[in-house]
Structure formats: C-alpha cells, structure tokens
C-alpha cells in the first residue's frame, strides 16, 4: 500500500483503488495481484469518492453491543465513477438508488468509515 495515498481501511481519509496495468481491471478490495488476469503490476490510485447509489438500507439493529448506540444508521452500496463498488454509511433519509453521491469520512466503532451523501448536500 502506498504510504502517500490515504485509505480509510488504515485510518486515513480516502478511498483507494488498484488498477491493473496489464488488463486495466479496477479492484477495491485489495490483493497483491489482479483477480482478473493474475498480473502483479498494479497502480494504486486515490478514488474521487464520487459515484451512484446502487442499493441502500437502514440498519435498525446493530450487530454488536458496541455499535448499538449508533443505530439506526444507513448503509449504501455505491458504484464509484472509477468502476468499482463500495459499501459506505449514508444519511437515514434522503438517499435513493440512482442518486449521485460524494464521500466524506466519519468515526464509527473503532475507526473511520466512508460516508456518502447526495451531491450538493452539506
């Protein structure tokens, strides 16, 4: 993982992707190789955080006691403009499938998680 690119999975405020230099496949869930063609020649890039909501739910009951104070919370699957899908938190209301969203980062549980909201909202 490139140290200069912030990644929320390691505590930084950013979404990263890895693009295969051989076949151009984009992966979000990172492996040291391309799952499409097997190449290990990957370019790690920062994603814009812009995308379109593919699916959305509101979780009424958290999976564990340490998260139950946060409930209810919204979870969305977002199709990033770079061509990968990611899971993010979202507002409880005002987010619908097909909405264009942008990403910020919020504290949740033990760390930071991506938070998407419709373009143009504060």
């Amino acid at each position: 993982m490139s140290a200069e690119i912030p990644d929320w999975t390691t505590g930084g405020e950013g979404l990263t992707l890895a693009r295969c230099r051989a076949c151009r496949h984009v992966q979000y869930v990172r492996r040291p190789f391309c799952p499409e063609c097997g190449s290990e020649d990957l370019s790690v890039e920062r994603a814009s955080g812009r995308g379109t909501v593919y699916a959305v739910t509101v979780v009424a009951r958290a999976p564990s006691a340490d998260l139950s104070a946060h409930a209810p919370y919204g979870i969305a699957l977002v199709d990033a403009e770079e061509g990968f899908r990611f899971m993010a938190h979202c507002p409880l209301k005002g987010v619908a499938i097909g909405d264009a969203v942008r990403t910020t980062f919020r504290a949740f549980g033990a760390g930071l998680v991506p938070f998407v909201a419709p373009e143009g909202t504060p």
Binding site: Y28, A55, V58, A60, P63, S64, M87, G109
Partner: protein, 376 residues
C-alpha cells in the same frame, strides 16, 4: 443412482438444554430408524458445521460421540447452502462407488446455545472483515441491500405474501417454530430490521437438527432418487456481487435439470431456500418458477399453496418451520421426501413425481440445486 432411504428431522424452535451433538444425535437416530438400519450398516459420514460448537473436525467428533466408525468422513461448510451441498456430495460419493451408504447429519442449538446478540454478531462476520464488517452491517442488512435493489427494479409490496404462505404451511406442521397465523398487513407493519425488510420478512433463529441416509439404488430399498445436482458460485461478499438482481441460481438449477433430463415444467414441487422473503422471491424468479417481480403476487393468488400449481415448502420453510443453520435447508428435503412418500399428514399434496430443491449460502453467493424423483 443414489436414493434417500432415511430422514430424521427434529422439531425446530427453542429446545433448551440440547447441545449441537444432542440435536445431531436425535436426527441421526431418527434417520437410521427411518431407513431401518443399524449404525454399523453406514460406511460414510458427512456433517455440516455449528456456530455453537466450532471444531476443526466436527464429523469425527460426532462419529465418536454417536458410535460410528466410518471408512469415510468429513465436514462441509458452505453457509446456508451447506445442507444441499452435503446431499450433493453424498450423491456423488455413492455414484462414484466410494461409499455404499452415507449418513448426512447437521444440528445446532443456534437459539438457546448463545445469546441472540452473539448469534447476530457471529453471522455478521460473513461480511468482508476489512471493507464491510467495520461499517456494522448485519445479515438482514446485506439482504436489505439486495431487497432495496429488487424494490427499485420490480416493486416489493407483494413479497410479504411469501411470509404469510410459509406461516400458513407451518401451522399444519408438527414441530414448526412459528405457527401463529399472520397477514400481509402484519408483515408490512412489523418492526423495521433493515429497510425494506421487516421482522416478519426474516426467518427466526432456531435450535434443531436434521439427517438423511443416502445410498446406492437397490430395488429392495426404495426411496426418492437424486437425479441431478449442480452448483454455482458467483461471489462471497455482497459488495462483490456482480448484480443484486441476478445471481447464480438460474444457472445452477438449469444444469441440475439438464443433468436429470427433465424440464422445469416437469417439476411438481418446489423446495426453495427462504432465509428472507426477498431470498425466496429472487430464487423463485431466477430459477424460472415465477416471472421477475411476480413471486409475491403468485403466492397471493395461491399458485404456491399446497393445492396450487406449484406447492412450495409445505412444512413452512426457514421463515416459519425455522432456521437452525445447516439443518434449516435440510428440513426442505425432509419435507419433500415426506410429500413423495405420501406421509405428510394434513398438509399432504398429490405426491409429486419430480421436485426441484435449491439452497443458497452467503448473500445469494453460493447455490446448490437438486432434482429429486419419486421412487415409490
């Protein structure tokens, strides 16, 4: 060809004091008795897993406990698809001549062996540990995401009818976990769990066990025959699913049917995995037993009722007979065998000549389809 000669199915629900091994033993005892066999007459054993009894070698833990010395044994883990994966494996092992008779067994005190919070937390760990679990999703949340997309593309109002049907079927089934009648309005008004899914869209967590004896076909020992078995695996995590409206179920079912040399229109009974109403709707539609978006409407119209064109999960399914983990889907097969034998009591349908069974594991990630032919 392989045949199912014995079934064992415990009641599902709160069975306080029964451990995983107790429930597996009860089901195995019943399956052997049903098959008219002694322990020593079984040479193979395959088991599922249990979240309340995690072990590297559950099959041999059970073999020792139950008093078996099999020449072939291991456990299988494929989430909700495990039950039918066990049956498919037993079928393949028998067909290959590697074993003569296999005992297939699963059981778990998933409800009373741990707190409800522990059960929810354990199950939620099937999410991606880095990219999903830190966001606090639950199993209903993964399926809520699926249901939101289905609602967007087809509308989801009628899917409550599937819960109503499963509850009505369970009311006629001794041993069912949930039997109090419900209406579609009650489903739609039940408390939100993970939108658009509500409490009555979700199966309960149950204790229970199930077992089968599967053996080489022998005219002297008749039983329903496994004619075809196939799988499809498209992804593990919901974030990685190629689509949330098209999964591998249609592919898996089509190959099981082709292997059997029968068409979907020849099928007279359906046993389909129903962890949530959305699961059942999507699987029925993808397999081709309902047009896209129409499974709930067909249920409301009686198409899937015991006296309808395609009886479905006449024991009440996971949604109402209950869900104890691996044994949950095995109840679907136990019921299919009972219907084929004409031994389903007050819920007996015209004994079907052919049945299609389908299970899924993960978030519609892993699919197993079976075609069963009545061998009476």
């Amino acid at each position: 060809m392989s045949v199912v000669t014995g079934i064992g199915l415990t009641p599902f629900g709160r069975l306080a004091g029964a451990s995983t091994l107790d429930l597996m033993s009860r089901a195995a005892t019943d399956a052997l008795a049903d098959a008219g066999l002694e322990r020593r007459e079984v040479d193979g054993l395959i088991t599922g897993y249990s979240t309340t009894h995690p072990h590297l070698m559950l099959s041999t833990v059970f073999a020792e406990h139950f008093g078996l010395r099999p020449s072939y044994a291991h456990a299988v883990q494929l989430g909700g698809a495990t039950g039918f994966a066990l049956v498919m494996l037993a079928h393949l092992m028998v067909e290959a001549g590697a074993v003569r008779r296999i005992l297939v067994v699963a059981g778990e005190n998933r409800l009373s062996g741990q707190s409800r919070d522990a059960a929810i937390q354990t199950l939620a760990q099937v999410g991606h540990p880095t990219y999903e679990v830190p966001l606090g999703p639950t199993i209903p949340a993964y399926y809520g995401l699926v249901a939101s997309r289905y609602a967007y593309e087809y509308g989801i109002e009628d899917s409550a009818e599937l819960a109503v049907l499963m509850r009505a079927n369970a009311a006629r089934t001794p041993g069912a976990h949930l039997t109090e009648p419900i209406t579609a309005a009650m489903v739609r008004d039940s408390k939100p769990i993970a939108t658009p899914l509500r409490l009555l869209d979700c199966c309960p967590v149950s204790d229970g066990g199930a077992a089968f004896v599967i053996e080489r076909a022998d005219a002297a020992r008749p039983g329903p025959a496994i004619r075809g078995a196939a799988q499809a695996h498209t992804h593990q995590h919901v974030s990685a699913a190629p689509s949330l409206t098209a999964f591998g179920a249609g592919d898996s079912a089509a190959r099981a049917l082709a292997q059997s040399g029968v068409a979907l229109t020849d099928i007279g009974y359906a046993a389909i995995y129903d962890s949530f109403t959305i699961t059942l709707a999507i699987l029925l539609e993808e397999i081709g037993l309902a047009p896209r978006g129409a499974a709930g409407r067909l249920a409301r119209e009686g198409h899937f009722s015991p006296d309808g064109a395609m009886p479905l999960n006449t024991h009440g399914g996971l949604l109402s007979y209950g869900h104890c983990g691996v044994g949950g889907a095995m109840a679907h097969l136990a019921e299919t065998v009972r219907q084929m034998r004409g031994a389903a009591g007050p819920r007996q349908v015209a004994p079907p000549a052919l049945a299609l069974l389908h299970g899924d594991g993960g978030v519609l990630s892993s699919h197993v389809s079976l075609v069963l032919e009545n061998g009476r």
